[in-house]
Subunit: 325 residues, 2 copies
């Protein structure tokens, strides 16, 4: 293959049937009958001119139902949706999906027909892209294959795990900054996981919504503002619900209303911020022309951990004198 | 529709073309030409007997290329792959994908042809299932739609977030058990996020591999043992790599080899366990006939947090006397 991977050119087949606009329906059917075509699909027949430029399309269905003496010119549709040979396979998949096509013609910049992409190739592309997105979201890029060895899997997953571990050392540094506060009220440390998990979970929810929205096309320039406003509202509401729950539960478990207030307010602020981070980061990454699923999950989780713990310990430090020591 | 949602019956079309085995190729083409069929696809023509039972299939391609006087009986393929009307739409999608079909016939238990599922319906099903899996993995079930209000989104996401927050309170309890250890060496608390994040990330990687493997069918009864062995090996190797890195970095940052040893060994054990948990939980959930993607991510992360912190504080408590206080 002389085309770059993951483009229309790389996945297209060159086995297709070409018609001239002057042929009649009967000619074509007769021709098809005699030739017993090798073409991958004969359900769409493409019409080209003398320069091999794509000028129309006839479905086998239209051909069958047309009067035998009609010429292709009168049967064919001249509004052919085609894709460029260098187009990303994911965009080709979106197009075929959108129009419920069985195939799409592939043309050069000059409009010359060079191949077709069929719907079964597209299903494979969609599966592949989903698998990639899944792997990226979980920082398991390249190790989704269940057939590779433990060593290969570890080698592919290790870079992310080690990089994220270093981010974990930054989080350690954030907590380290509040060592005096922690020393005064050791009980504060028990809520570290709760703050981290809640921040991580709400961020990941927002992330999943945005990554899928970008993949299927429901999030674009015109809807992004509305979507961000929605996510911000969602974050605040989730924060209020969690804060109220904790204001009831923590005094009961740990006997301190001040502690409950600190954890509750921290969580309210953290979830509002975490949801926005989860929704914004993939948009920025996408803007930079990088796949927004690339390890977004763990990065957003770690960033939200840092923000959440900073908010929590800042509030706790400010209210330290009111806490039972 | 009288069929349960997400079954072949619910997504099938009832517009299809039926042939008798005694018709000739020319008869059928003539018939198609005159009728200008309304059927959603005429690319596969199904052959039924007097009892409306499915007995064969002829592709429009075979029909066109056959000599005009041949009967359908001699052209048709009697090895028809069909799906039952009650079959799960995801299984129908897998079948069509596997065989690169444009459509599949839907039959009752008695073998009566009642409809067809076309490839474009299948693409929608695959997209829908992917979206579901994405949402479930991120505990954002039902809120993947970017068109719903902030209130609706918060209402759909809140149950998971609040349930997971209660799990966070269990994690708090685990740390609370080691309050004396923490009080003696406050520095131990700064590594809580590192242990949690690393456990969560490796668990999520294993989870993603298994959930996708189950969805696309590469993980099944025959491969599950091999896969689990692979994941266990991967976990140990990741653990060794992280432990070695920390044994170098922590003494440099925090001036204590004992602390480095505690964090390193804890991480080695935690990652080995976390990878197995990440691989095993979705298998168990799948065995219980529940979609393994259902909020598996956050649950596995929380479970791994608890295990990781328990391992970490247990080792730290055992070695407390050797730590700088």
């Amino acid at each position: 293959m002389s085309y770059p991977p993951e483009t229309a050119g790389a996945i297209m087949t060159k086995e297709f049937i070409v018609l001239r606009s002057t042929d009649t329906a009967a000619d074509v059917i007769d021709h098809l009958r005699k030739e017993g075509p090798d073409a991958e699909t004969i359900y769409y027949l493409y019409v080209v001119d003398e320069q091999k430029k794509l000028v129309g399309v006839v479905s086998l269905r239209d051909l069958i139902t047309a009067p035998s003496d009609q010429t292709i010119e009168t049967i064919m549709s001249t509004r052919v949706v085609s894709v460029l040979v260098g187009e990303d396979q994911e965009d080709v998949a979106k197009l075929i999906k959108k129009y419920d096509f069985l195939a799409a013609p592939v043309v050069t910049e000059q409009g010359t027909l060079v191949g077709i992409v069929t719907v079964d190739d597209i299903i494979d592309v969609l599966e592949e892209e989903t698998e990639e997105d899944f792997g990226e979201m979980a920082a398991a890029r390249g190790s989704m294959d269940t057939n590779i060895s433990a060593f290969t899997a570890a080698r592919k997953r290790a870079p992310w795990i080690i990089m994220l571990m270093f981010l974990g050392l930054i989080t350690a540094e954030v907590i380290g900054q509040f060592e005096e506060t922690l020393e005064a009220v050791i009980l504060l440390s028990v809520f570290i996981p709760l703050i981290m998990d809640s921040a991580g979970n709400t961020g990941t929810q927002a992330l999943a919504v945005v990554v899928r929205g970008l993949a299927v096309g429901t999030v674009d320039r015109s809807t992004v503002g509305k979507m961000l406003k929605r996510e911000f509202g969602t974050g605040i509401m989730l924060g209020i619900m969690c804060a109220v729950t904790l204001l009831i539960v923590i005094p009961f478990l740990y006997g301190s209303f001040v502690l409950a207030g600190i954890v509750g307010v921290s969580l309210l602020l953290t979830l509002s911020v975490a949801t926005m981070v989860g929704a914004t980061i993939p948009l920025i990454i996408n803007k930079l022309k990088i796949d927004p699923a690339v390890a977004s999950g763990p990065f957003i989780t770690t960033l939200n951990d840092i923000l959440g713990l900073f908010i929590y310990f800042s509030i706790a430090t400010a209210l330290l004198q009111y806490l039972p020591q």
